[in-house]
């Protein structure tokens, strides 16, 4: 795959960049899930004023352009892999919150929830065992899509110079460094980081599809 403008091996840069990308993605998406899911569950189940307030806050965050918001936060809390991960988190918390909440609102009214109540299940059990599990079914798809999106966001941040700093191996960073050289025929130092971003993004999307088939008993049956 050749070397990049400063003579570093493109192949090993791409390999090590995977680690950076996956770390940022993992932190970003997991923390977002850990925050967004319970808050959405609580907000949707409780309803009332707290719910309205939370929706307002989350919608304001959601309305903000993601890359800009993450960039802003990255500037505020400083660079570095963990910090960029947390900056990416902020984009996806509203996503998880919104999808969880809307699912809770519909699952809450399901007749099997009423049936569970009639059979003497406690409120805590109803939230965690009946509602949460039925909401969780839908999460893998959102999870993989947001993970794919997070990879793009992270790369975008570094491309703009708002993400991790050189000399950390990072696809976005390599892309931006190599982009100006395409015109002189040096395509490989930007092509391979770009290709791997595409591959990872597609792979994560497929993962979500697969997870959905495994978790949902109805789909699982159809497959076997």
């Amino acid at each position: 795959m050749g070397t990049d403008p400063v003579g570093r091996d493109v192949f090993s840069r791409v390999l090590f960049g995977t680690a950076t990308s996956l770390e940022i993605m993992a932190i970003g998406v997991f923390v977002a899930l850990l925050v967004g899911f319970p808050v959405g569950l609580f907000s949707g189940y409780r309803g009332g004023r707290i719910d309205k307030l939370l929706v307002l806050v989350m919608d304001s965050l959601y309305a903000f352009p993601g890359l800009l918001l993450a960039g802003l936060i990255a500037v505020l809390i400083g660079k570095g892999v963990v910090n960029i991960g947390l900056a990416v988190t902020v984009i996806y918390v509203p996503l998880y919150f919104r999808s969880t909440r809307s699912l809770v609102l519909s699952v809450r009214e399901e007749l099997y929830v009423e049936a569970a109540r009639a059979l003497g299940a406690s409120p805590r059990r109803i939230i965690w065992r009946y509602i949460a599990s039925n909401v969780l079914v839908a999460i893998p798809v959102i999870f993989s899509l947001s993970a794919a999106d997070a990879v793009l966001t992270a790369a975008g941040l570094s491309y703009l110079g708002l993400g991790v700093e050189a000399p950390t191996a990072d696809w976005g960073l390599d892309l931006s460094a190599a982009a100006s050289r395409i015109s002189v025929g040096i395509w490989w130092s930007s092509f391979f980081p770009g290709l791997i971003i595409v591959l990872l993004t597609i792979g994560l999307s497929f993962l979500g599809e697969g997870l959905n088939d495994i978790i949902n008993p109805v789909l699982r049956k159809e497959r076997s």
Binding site: A115, A118, L119, G120, A121, S122
Partner: protein, 319 residues
């Protein structure tokens, strides 16, 4: 037979909507003895199911319940939530009318049973499963299907699973809200027989909510006829079937189908709007005997025979 299991007096359930309160149950009083079967019949939307749910306290939010509801002497309204939860499913069980959507799609049948049993009793999973197997066997569901998910069963089977689940704790009072509506007559007969056995063996009381007067005639001791949120007649099944007092009951009985019936009798008009029900006697707009008094004065709840009550100004004329 005389000890009272359930006592409702002046029970009212209003659903608060934007148009105003929907008076789904409006002043219902009755008593249930141990081992007794009370049938509740009435048109769709007259408040039968609401009445059933209100006994368990599983009504939707923003619902106003007033009046007293006593179960084995305990006032259900004043019980702490945790106490009420313990009663639900264990002492009082409810069979819902729509079995297709009453089972959690992510739980196997085994999970459902273990969950239900362990919500009430501190037993091992193994023991809970043993009980589940027994309960399911009595409904004709083999043990091999325990690990299956709800979507793998037919509607009739799901209904039987629901019934088995309601009965697994041997409740003292069972409220069956049209338990056999979606089943064929053979399974229906089997289920009614099982309910009958339980009543005999465990002295279980049964509230049977149904459209089917034939089932009532066969299974019930007493019959309550509900119209627009109120009881219009209550009495022994024999009395009510032979000499119905209230014109609505008469019309209801006349509209059942017989082999020799040539044309089916139907009651003119529609069930009333429960937000703004007709004043005084709620049946008067559809009643063939209605007089001026029916529009202005609410008929009293009169005992026409021992244990046979009705609310009609002209009840005496129909005796």
């Amino acid at each position: 037979m005389s000890d009272v299991v359930l006592e409702a007096s002046g029970l009212r359930v209003y659903y608060n909507t934007r148009r105003g309160p929907v008076k789904a149950v409006d002043g219902v009083s009755f008593e249930m003895s141990r081992g007794e079967t009370l049938g509740i019949v009435g048109e769709t939307g007259c408040g039968k199911s609401t009445l059933g749910k209100s006994i368990l306290g599983v009504l939707p939010p923003r619902t106003t319940v007033s009046g007293a509801l006593r179960f084995l002497g305990k006032d259900l309204a004043s019980l702490p939530r945790e106490e009420l939860r313990k009663i639900r499913g264990k002492e009082i069980a409810l069979i819902f009318q729509d079995p297709m959507t009453r089972l959690d799609p992510l739980f196997t049948i085994e999970d459902h049973f273990v969950e239900t049993i362990r919500a009430h009793e501190d037993v091992s999973k193994k023991e809970a499963i043993e009980r589940a197997v027994k309960a399911l066997a009595s409904m004709g569901i083999p043990e091999s299907r325990l690990k299956h998910y709800p979507h793998e069963f037919s509607g009739g089977m799901r209904q039987r699973i629901m019934i088995a689940m309601s009965l697994v704790m041997n409740p003292k009072l069972l409220i069956a809200d049209e338990p056999t509506t979606s089943l064929d007559v053979i399974v229906e007969a089997q289920i009614l027989e099982i309910l009958e056995d339980l009543r005999r063996v465990y002295q279980m009381s049964l509230v049977l909510i149904t459209h089917n007067l034939g089932i009532v005639a066969e299974v019930c001791d007493r019959l309550a006829v509900m119209y627009a949120g109120k009881f219009v007649e209550l009495g022994g099944v024999r009395d009510v079937f032979r000499t119905p007092v209230h014109p609505y009951t008469q019309a209801l009985l006349a509209s059942t189908i017989h082999l020799e019936s040539k044309e089916l009798f139907s009651i003119d008009g529609l069930p009333p709007d429960l937000v703004d029900p007709p004043p005084a006697c709620r049946f008067h707009p559809r009643c063939t005997y209605a007089q001026e008094i029916c529009r202005t004065e609410e008929p009293a709840w009169v005992e026409y025979r021992p244990g046979h009550f009705a609310a009609c100004h002209f009840g005496k004329d129909f005796l």
